[in-house]
């Protein structure tokens, strides 16, 4: 069985260290984002209703 998870970015997931550098504070999030299995729903195809031309 495949497990479906939503990637959700939250305020606590990101912080800035004392040098002003960006830090991802949630290693689980990093892992999920970098996973090869993660995919994104193609929102264009899901709701295509108009015609294209030119």
């Amino acid at each position: 069985m495949s497990e479906k998870k939503s990637v959700q970015l939250r305020k606590d997931d990101v912080r800035v260290d004392d040098k002003g550098n960006l830090v991802i504070a949630n290693p689980e999030l990093t892992k999920m984002i970098k996973s090869e299995k993660v995919t994104e729903i193609n929102e264009v195809d899901a709701h295509r209703v108009t015609i294209s031309w030119e």
Partner: protein, 661 residues
């Protein structure tokens, strides 16, 4: 025994992923009078024969613009030799050396474009055996978009084989003079119904079945009985066209019956390109068009008056359709021209409360508020068509759209935040527009690539029944003539007759407008917008621990990622600009937080870096923040990956200018 059934026919070329709401309503209307009927979705069969993908291309790409679907059936209607080379030269390529036209012309020269024609005769032969024609008293064709020639070709064969059949056409292709031209030119058509047939058609059928004679009813144009064939019973007076009375009590309409569609779709053997969707109608007419008819809009020829169903009635219908057809799809598209704003008070909250798994589509006006979009998404409205058309306020004014450029962009931003897909197109060529307006839009577009792009763009078409059509001369449009394609669809007819069949018209400008030339840079920018968006362009803001303000992550251009930290006072102004704000209202906001001494110079010094970073947009002294706040919105995957990369590279945040005191 006399036949007592009615057969309805839905011919190519209309979409195969949804039923005909017109036929669904008429079937249900007949059922209320205990008159049995069948709806034959022969378009599904043709898609099966020629392949769903090439079929759908004819329905919804450049092929539709050149009316290829109609042209493919002309040989079957007229039994003449087609003139493919001329059609390619004079129709496909007539609009100038556009890439798409050249591609399509190339396919035409190689024979690929016309390949579906080989299926036409076998298909029509199949149609002749697919339904129990002898059992029908009346056969009704719906004719919208590219359905007219194929419908006429089958009607001709049916009348020859089954002379007892009373053949009637309805739909947008026979509204007004187009319908009369059809009746006058094709003797196998016995009647046309111009306008809304919900009440008139069942009444007509009932009387016809009882008496064997077609009654004269408003909106129906009839041919005389055979002895007097050639004349019309109710030929209109000069300048007038018969039209059915508009339906006023929308709640009295039946629920549409789509059983035949889903049964036939189940049996159809073609690749499922688009998921099926159910059509619902909650209103007719256009409340905006009643006040200001958009100049290019040819919808609602004689029934612009807005009429909507009560919230409870709309809800009942939606639940019925969900219950009956939910096993096939959870996609439901409203065919309304415009969402009833009253629905924000009743229908939409009630829908939300039901918490049913549906994805609804609606056409809307573009100046929706954030809370309205939130409510729509919560209710399951997942896609809208907001009629954006342009991103220049003055051009939008020329169109009579009643919305500003910033309001349009604001809508795109809120749609993205709330996961509502806005389908929209870019239109050019309005009388009074200037090249400078297009240059300005081309410069602005790179700032917007994180927002849903338009599906397509093109010069406006002149549609019958639109203000531009009726007021062409006053507007500055001259040499109005039917699309060149009509020459090939109605080849043996005099020009004045052919003119009466046309819905689409070409035109010239009285004052020279080189639209192709002055829109080139914008068209290039729009194409890049589509490409960047598909690659995952994003721009979002979030509060980040370790900063005292807001951070904007700019991932609009690949390889040029930026993180911009806003000071607390900039943040206050930026978040205030989530909706369009005037410069004056921003000054008031600044004075509220920084004291009454704050002035415009200070305001400008705070806003300037945000404008330079293109995370804030200013048009006509009004401002709109472009970044989407993280919360309801989670950035797209490509952006999240870039964010992780930036963190792993140890990249520091860019700090914007501090306020000048």
């Amino acid at each position: 025994m006399h036949p007592t059934r009615v057969g309805f026919v839905n011919m190519p070329f209309v979409p195969i992923h949804c039923p005909s709401i017109g036929l669904g309503l008429l079937k249900a209307g007949l059922a209320k009078r205990s008159i049995p009927s069948d709806v034959w979705y022969f378009n599904l069969r043709f898609a099966e024969m020629m392949g769903a993908k090439p079929y759908s291309d004819i329905v919804s790409t450049y092929r539709a613009q050149v009316m290829l679907g109609e042209y493919l059936f002309t040989q079957a209607l007229y039994d003449h030799e087609p003139r493919d080379e001329e059609y390619i030269d004079e129709v496909v390529l007539q609009k100038g050396p556009m890439k798409r036209a050249l591609e399509v012309a190339q396919l035409g020269r190689s024979g690929e474009l016309m390949a579906p024609r080989e299926h036409v005769e076998p298909f029509l032969d199949w149609c002749m055996t697919a339904a129990p024609w002898a059992d029908y008293a009346i056969v009704g064709f719906t004719s919208v978009f590219q359905q007219h020639i194929a419908s006429l070709a089958l009607a001709k064969r049916l009348k020859e084989r089954y002379p007892h059949l009373f053949i009637i056409f309805g739909g947008a292709n026979v509204e007004g003079d187009m319908g009369l031209a059809t009746l006058e030119s094709f003797p196998f058509v016995d009647a046309i119904c111009s306008g809304e047939g919900d009440e008139v058609f069942p009444a007509f059928v009932e009387t016809f079945l009882q008496t064997g004679q077609p009654p004269a009813l408003p909106g129906l144009a009839l041919r005389r009985p055979p002895a007097e064939q050639g004349d019309l019973i109710d030929l209109p007076l000069a300048g007038t066209v018969p039209h059915t009375p508009a339906i006023h009590d929308m709640d009295a309409l039946p629920f549409p019956d789509y059983d035949d569609y889903f049964q036939q779709l189940d049996e159809a053997k073609f690749e499922r390109i688009d998921p099926p969707r159910v059509l619902i109608e909650t209103s007719r007419g256009c409340w905006w068009g009643e006040k200001n008819h958009c100049v290019f809009c040819g919808l609602n020829s004689m029934t612009m008056k807005f009429r909507s169903k009560s919230a409870q009635r709309a809800l009942d219908e939606l639940l019925y359709l969900r219950e009956r057809y939910g096993k096939y799809t959870n996609l439901i598209s409203a065919v309304d021209n415009i969402l009833d704003m009253k629905y924000f008070k009743d229908f939409i909250p009630a829908l939300k409360a039901l918490e049913i798994d549906i994805e609804l589509f609606y056409e809307t006006k573009a100046n929706l508020r954030r809370d309205q979009l939130e409510a729509m998404r919560d209710a399951g409205i997942a896609a809208i068509q907001p009629g954006i058309e342009s991103l220049d306020t003055d051009i939008l004014r020329l169109m009579r759209k009643g919305v500003s450029a910033l309001q349009n962009i604001q809508l795109l931003k809120w749609c993205k935040e709330h996961r509502i897909w806005p389908s929209w197109n870019f239109l050019f060529g309005f009388v009074g527009e200037t090249p400078a307006q297009y240059e300005a839009m081309a410069r602005m577009v790179p700032s917007l690539t994180h927002l849903p792009p338009c599906g397509g763009w093109g010069q406006i078409r002149l549609d019958r029944f639109s203000p531009y059509y009726y007021e062409a001369a006053e507007t500055g449009l001259v040499d109005v003539r039917p699309f060149a394609a009509y020459t090939y669809l109605y080849p043996s007819m005099a020009a004045e007759v052919r003119q009466r069949f046309a819905y689409y018209f070409d035109y010239s400008y009285r004052e020279p407008h080189d639209v192709t030339a002055y829109t080139e840079s914008l068209r290039d920018a729009l194409l890049k917008w589509q490409q960047d968006y598909m690659k995952g362009a994003d721009l979002f803001s979030m509060e980040v621990e370790g900063t005292d303000g807001l951070v904007v992550f700019d991932f609009r251009s690949a390889g040029e990622q930026h993180m911009i930290r806003l000071s607390p006072v900039q943040r206050s102004l930026y978040e205030f600009c989530d909706s369009v704000r005037s410069r004056q209202s921003l000054l008031v906001r600044l004075q509220e937080t920084e004291g009454p001494a704050a002035d415009l110079r200070e305001l400008d010094s705070l806003l300037m870096p945000l404008l330079e970073d293109r995370i804030l947009l200013c048009i006509d002294d009004h401002y709109l923040s472009l970044a989407i706040p993280v919360g309801t919105y989670t950035p797209r995957l490509a952006a999240l990956k870039q964010m992780v990369e930036l963190a792993e590279q140890g990249r520091a945040l860019v700090i914007d200018s501090a306020p000048v005191r």
